[in-house]
Amino acid sequence: MSKHIVVDPITRIEGHLRIEAVIDENNTIVDAYSASTMFRGIETILQGRDPRDCGLLAMRICGVCTGTHYQRSIEAVEDAFKITIPKNARIVRNLIQGALYVHDHLVHFYHLHALDFVDVVSALSADPAKTAAEARKWAAVAGESPFIDGEGEFKAIQDRVAKFVKQGRLGIFGNGYWGNAHYKLTPEQNLIGVAHYLQALEIQRDLAKMQAIFGGKNPHPQSIVVGGVTCVQDIQNPARIAQFKSLLLAGRKFVKEAYLPDVYMAGTMYAGEATDSKATFTELMAGKGVGGTGGGLLNYMSYGDFRLDDTGFYKSGLLFPSGIVYGGDISKVADVDQAKIAEDVTHSWYKGDKPLHPYEGQTIPEYTGLDKREDGIAYLKTKEKYSWIKSPIYNDTRVEVGPLARMVVGVARKDKRITKYVTEFLQRGNLPIAVLFSTVGRTAARAIETSLMSDVMIEWVDELAANAAAGDLKTWTDFNFDEVSMSTKGMGLAEAPRGSLGHWVSIADGKVVNYQAVVPSTWNAAPRDYKGRMGAYEASLIGTKVANPEQPLEIIRTIHSFDPCIACAVHVVDTKGKELAVYKVDTSCSI
């Protein structure tokens, strides 16, 4: 008999997400639904406003990748006004954005995702001396020396955690799935994970400062305006640029000496799951069969991002190329044509009867509620509407976006830099490329990207310093608002840390007429579409074996691998069978 699991709230994410999964008698997930349970209506709020103000409001779509929404929104307006920003503005925006990537990926891995791999309780029984040796081993795989390898340091951290556990109240670590059979790290490896978790808390504060240097604050920076940026005094001050660089170098050190080794460690220990697909590698490459645990759709899209020269939008060279790879087949790559993007609301709590391009998009709530049940659980009406997230469709297919998509598209495009980072990672870890098409691979791709980003940003800081030193202080391109804002439309299409992010704006008489944002988590967390096809979260859960249905560790691990960010996307799940036994997940593991 199948069992129905409801996980709500999904914690350690941004926003409100609910997952419902159906498992068979072998504890394998046979069906899954992803729903967002919160709606704010920011697109509606933007209507009628001055296009120059959109960025400030649109940024609040998300408090995590806030700077990205800000920039996309401003770019949509600049695209509409046909403005090309000056060099300083381009570099500063890249730096603000790049700082976000490094910061956000690090926080995601350690504070939102690591506890799905790392069993905190198991770390208590680690041998600190062996832990130090273990840390050296994984750092060596990455070709680095470990961030910490002192036996004493590991011992101190272990004592601290032990004390915390002993006093009975675990605070945010309470009720975790500790002891679950699908935790695979050794006690020593777990202790490394816990140690880095704590150190990363500190490092991330410094990384956030990078964004504040040119953005004013983090979260919600404030220095980007239509036409350029405002932070002239920070650009013309060499001490400021040097400060940015030293924060970057410190962050980069942690990325290389802790983050990468930890991902090698987790990737190796969980590699079985990454490659447990029944499909052969050749089949996978031919787009047949699914990847390892959590592989999901295997269609990957990237709009591309980080302009490397000062030609206008969508003409400049990019750090991350744009493209689409279907079925995991990296021998081919298709161009992205934004005209082929549409949003469908068949299973979303909005009015509408056909997929619409974002320029035509509507956001009219039509909430039909949850099913009422007597056991204290209200299920999603999965046959009908069940989420506040719309279902984006590209060229009438469902696609996944995110760091993995960027790396896959980069490799498929034969981008030199990306291919080098990806192959080097796989070679050093002695991992087959197939591991990428999985939950573990999604996590690895994020780490590879962070490493690449922390290197390339050094070039950008130097470029900015050189440009300012040469006397170029231009930060803004003038435009005649009255002329350019009469009747126009534009789009800001690029990448957020979580994947392809697009803002589309239509403007008339100096005011916003329509505004639609299609965000990464909309692509990934979306419900079924009009053809009943699953979104990326849903598809990635199918076939996953759950060790203990009372502790849906595998579900949250896979969902977390996407780095959900739901405030901007808003949706969740339902059941398909009628005769499902309700399995309430309520056993807590007390330690």
Binding site: G63, V120, S223, V232, D234
Partner: protein, 412 residues
């Protein structure tokens, strides 16, 4: 004309906050005794977690001097005289006596992110060691039913004692169904009511939880409101701004621990220690404002020389907040520092009133009438009208100087 300029200048430079920073020796001696008693009481209590703070400081390589430096800065921030410094230090040591439950409603997690960037005591100590953070969706390990159970247990264990932090607004439209949480699909409204019932006090953090924030911006599609609109008969402290400054979050907890009371609040329930004066009063570009030197367009000579941003839409003169003093991300920068101006994010309805790229002259904001309190609030009223005058004057002055009248609106 020059008379008027003088009048406006005087207004802008007057002691605006009317926060009584010196209430006299008797007052402070009284308060000191009260705080001492309170701290002794706390000391006798069983903490939520039994950690030795001094040991932790030592383990983290923070020496006593460094800690006391932090305590004295915090004392100043709380607008207390230096003699309170040892008490503030003691209160910090007992942060684990204040269990915190943190709810996320109609939010963007910006405040949780901001909390993660808290300075002062290092964040890992705050999270792991000092504050007893019992429930926080963005950070906690548990999910689903285990998370719900964690919340229920915490509310039971710390009945009447926990501080309930709320991030995000409450959608009231459609019977609250624009936001639900948990397996039962409880609405945010019901969730908040249930969790606030046994809270000692509620701390609303960020523009959304305090005044409705962005979801409440016109036309407010979901009927979003702030906590104080739905929760009655409970002490509520509002820490607005978008996001709230983590220094103020820590300040409120410390104040509560120290005095057992919520801090002195203005009519909008904002602690006066943080929201008792305007951005403009302590702005680093203030001298340029007084001298009539403005940035006239992004990236111009004025911008390169850090002139006043008033004409580029800075709302510092009508915004009560302390970010001109504490700044953000450990003091690295702040919106005016970065040349963009203040958008008034600690004020109610700022999305509809202030958050745009033009000065107030174009805003046609009516001054509020009636029911306005004295002190800070009275001044707020004064400002709204006075700024109208001020803008007129500056606009006229620029016209005389042959510059364009309304920044951002016309470009020749």
């Amino acid at each position: 004309m020059s008379d008027k300029i003088e009048a406006v200048k005087k207004l802008f430079t007057s002691k605006s906050s009317r926060v009584e920073t010196n209430k006299g020796d008797t007052y402070y001696q009284d308060l000191f005794a009260k705080c001492e008693a309170r701290l002794n009481e706390m000391r006798a209590q069983t903490p939520a977690n039994r950690l030795d703070f001094s040991e932790l400081l030592e383990e983290n390589g923070i020496d006593r001097r460094e800690f006391m430096k932090w305590a004295s800065a915090t004392t100043a921030m709380l607008m207390l005289p230096p003699m309170f410094t040892p008490l503030v230090a003691d209160a910090a040591v007992m942060m684990n006596r204040a269990p915190v439950i943190w709810l996320e409603l109609q939010d963007c997690a910006g405040n949780s992110e901001a909390l993660l960037r808290a300075d002062g005591p290092k964040i890992d100590e705050i999270v792991l060691d000092i504050i007893s953070l019992e429930y926080h969706e963005t950070l906690q390990a548990a999910a689903g039913f285990q998370a719900e159970k964690q919340l229920d247990e915490a509310m039971e264990t710390f009945k009447g004692k926990y501080l309930l932090f709320v991030e995000g607004s409450i959608p009231m439209g459609m019977n609250g169904q624009y936001g639900t949480i948990g397996a039962a699909g409880e609405t945010f409204h019901d969730h908040l009511m249930r969790c606030s019932e046994n809270a000692a006090a509620i701390v609303a953090v960020g523009a959304c939880a305090t005044f409705g924030g962005i979801p409440a911006a016109s036309p407010n599609p979901t009927g979003a409101v702030g906590v104080m609109n739905v929760v009655k008969n409970k002490p509520i402290i509002n820490i607005p701004a978008c996001p709230a400054n983590p220094a103020n979050m820590v300040g409120v907890i410390l104040h509560y621990l120290l005095t057992g009371q919520i801090p002195e609040l203005d009519s909008l329930l904002r602690p006066k220690f943080a929201f008792g004066y305007r951005i403009h009063d302590n702005c680093e570009r203030r001298a340029h404002f007084d001298a009539g030197e403005y940035v006239e367009e992004w990236g111009d000579k004025g911008a390169q020389n850090n002139f006043c941003l008033y004409k580029m839409g800075c709302k510092g003169p009508m915004t009560f907040n302390n970010c001109s003093i504490v700044r953000y991300n450990e003091g690295i920068n702040w919106p005016i520092g970065v040349g963009r101006g203040c958008i008034g994010c600690s004020e109610p309805d700022f999305w509809d009133k202030y958050a745009y790229e033009r000065p107030m002259a174009d805003a046609k904001i009516k001054a509020p009438t009636g029911g306005v309190e004295k002190t800070v609030d009275e001044f707020g009223l004064g400002m709204l009208t006075a700024v109208g005058i001020g803008i007129g004057i500056h606009a006229a002055a620029s016209a005389v100087a042959g510059k364009r009248e309304k920044s951002g609106e016309s470009h020749e």
